[in-house]
Amino acid sequence: MDKIELAHGSGGILMREFIENEIKKRFKNPFLEKLLDSAILSNKNKKIAFTTDSYVVSPIFFPGGNIGELAVNGTVNDLVAVGAFPEFISLSLIIEEGLPFEDLRKILDSVKISAEKAKVKIVTGDTKVVEKGKGDRIFINTSGIGFIPEDVKIGYEKIEEGDLLIVNGPIGLHGFSILVSRENIEIESELKSDTAPLNELWEKLYENKIEVHFMRDPTRGGVQGVLNEIARESGFDIILFEEKIPVTDEVKGLSEILGIDPLLMANEGKMIFFVKRKDAEKAVEILRKCEKGRDSEIIGEVKEKKHKGILKLKTKLGVTRILDMPYSDPYQESADFHLSHKPVSLRHF
């Protein structure tokens, strides 16, 4: 492959290969090595989590949110995923010439509200304006810093056989709401992005001394993509229970029409918690008391290291099958395959 493809940035096999071959090899150091959502930096007595992310979403306004709150929530959740309590965020704006001030103000107001909700401070930033045609209205980069209490021990090496997987609500909402507005798909629905900061969920679990072994927010690549990565890194097989995975009727319907599995769709307000089996029921109870965790469910479990890190699905018929690492973005994948057997394209037979 001699050129960058869109798939290199979309959370699948190509992106992983790119990070391994072009990034990890060049910048080799123990902090980067683990490729967690945030790097965990430590000095004598403190652990600091540090993360950065760029937001290039199109459209910049979508049902349920906009690029501004996405930029804050995404970074907050990347800090939460390593067990940190987020405190500081930087905000870099790359604005295309011609963006209406009204739009920019709306975005900045959302940044403010999200930061308040997440109890983080915007402490530094940067603004650049590029010529018309050299950007896509606005790109945002946010970096974040959070602190990890001494007694928190979260990481691939903490995952153990028997751990149960909990998700804090229905999946696929963000990915489908972006797709619907990007492609102008006319549907009557109340579908909205789930973008939200999830530090409250983590705080409650921590306060209640729930033994959480790992966390990950299933953004690009969706639940299927990130769990494949976790299975590979930890070496454990993971089984998802098809019947337990929460999916709204709207997402189910769109998934049928567009031929895209909700498991592959990005989420912006979901976290998958790997919790010690004995604590799992209690964890669900605690999460369900939080606004963003009302529909929490146990959706899977960690199995022995039989196949060295394979993700499987226990189907409704009780049979298990593989859930493979996605190749690229599901929307591109849909062009590849899924639409071929769906009525909209008339391609099936």
């Binding site: 049979v319 190749y327 062009a335 395959f337 008339l346 037979f349």
Partner: protein
């Protein structure tokens, strides 16, 4: 959703599997012809619940997989011509030709657009008369009527800049090709529900009689497939050769008369090359003389070379004819993967090899 979930209900699916278990005494080998059926069987796990005396084998019914490389090569050549734009369905983009895929060609600047319907091409051609618009359409009898309609529409609008590059397959000759083979092991077919919704069952009756095989026209959801398998095993156990319809909610015995009329107006039966298998007589739909002006090949002076379809060691032809299963191939999952497909059944995710790779990959 309610309409669909009814046909995916686990309890109903299990019930038909239990009924099948209770009647299946002999050893039976049956083929689901369509790639979507293979996909549905493997993703729900029906194959693992059936008793060991029933073997399911996978048929040649994935149109993306069986489209010859020459068609892709021709499409790429056209898309690189001055003032010519190629339009196609999204699932064709990654299918490799002899050197590259449409996706790769697009990345290098070829003019290729994805459409959901051929009528989008008509709209574009109407508004961009200076461009030559070529529609690359493939498929079985489900897509052929819409391809015929779009050509009729182009004629009605007197469009001189609209062309088609088509590769259209017929199912019955493929079934006959499989049955004629003396080493064939297939005793019954789950016929593709969508194709029969268009074509009806009249073409299947003589095949069932001549080769003494039962055929059940089956849908695509787990309940459909479990019921279709039950109906087929029931006929096999009773030595009954007939064509029955499981997919009654969509398929009528006579098919869709209007669709058949439209396609016959524009196309006639002709030879068709199948990737991985070769040329099968009468297995395609080709343009009638009076519509040849729409043939995209008119735009080409170059001759497209015939290509040997199967790589050394690849058993694609045997898999497409139900003689071998993907795990029996030494290249499966090693040299041959969906990212680097060597044979037709790995080319599209609906192919049998790709479905095994996606859902099974590792034998437990």
């Amino acid at each position: 959703m309610k309409y669909l979930s009814e046909f995916r209900e686990a309890s109903k699916t299990k019930l038909f599997i239990e009924k099948t278990k209770s009647i299946a005494r002999e050893k039976w080998t049956i083929m689901e012809v369509c790639g979507s059926q293979t996909h549905s069987i493997l993703s729900s796990g029906i194959d693992e619940l059936l008793p060991p005396n029933i073997t399911l084998v996978h048929g040649p019914g994935c149109p993306v997989c069986v489209t010859p490389k020459e068609i892709i090569d021709t499409a790429i050549l056209l898309s690189k011509k001055k003032d010519t734009i190629l339009f196609t369905y999204g699932d064709m983009l990654r299918v490799p030709g002899s050197k590259e895929s449409l996706f790769k060609a697009k990345g290098d600047g070829a003019k290729i657009k994805m459409v959901y319907s051929p009528f989008e091409v008509i709209e574009f051609a109407k508004n961009n008369q200076e461009k030559k618009c070529v529609f690359l359409g493939i498929g079985f009898e489900t897509t052929t009527p819409s391809h015929a309609s779009v050509i009729l529409k182009a004629r009605e609008l007197n469009l001189k800049n609209f062309f088609v590059l088509l590769s259209q397959f017929r199912v019955p000759p493929a079934l006959e090709a499989i049955l004629k083979d003396p080493f064939n092991k297939i005793q019954g077919f789950l016929a593709p529900g969508h194709v029969c919704t268009v074509m009806g069952i009249e073409e299947y009756i003589p095949i069932s009689e001549k080769y003494k095989v039962p055929i059940v026209v089956t849908g695509f959801e787990s309940v459909d497939l479990a019921e279709g398998i039950f109906m087929l095993i029931q006929m096999l156990e009773r030595s009954e050769n007939a064509v029955k319809i499981q997919y009654k909610r969509s398929c009528k015995p006579e098919g869709n008369l209007k669709a058949k009329e439209i396609m016959k107006k524009v196309f006639k039966i002709g030879p068709q090359k199948w990737r991985g298998i070769g040329l099968i007589p009468d297995s395609g739909w080709i343009l009638r003389e009076e519509f040849r002006e729409f043939d995209a090949l008119n735009l080409l002076k170059e001759k497209i070379e015939e290509i040997e379809e199967t790589k050394e060691g690849c058993i694609a032809a045997l898999i497409l004819q139900g003689k071998k299963k993907p795990f029996e191939c030494s290249l499966f999952g090693k040299d041959c993967t969906p990212l680097n497909p060597l044979g037709a059944p790995m080319v599209s995710s609906e192919g049998a090899c790709a479905a095994y790779y996606k859902y099974k990959k590792i034998a437990d």
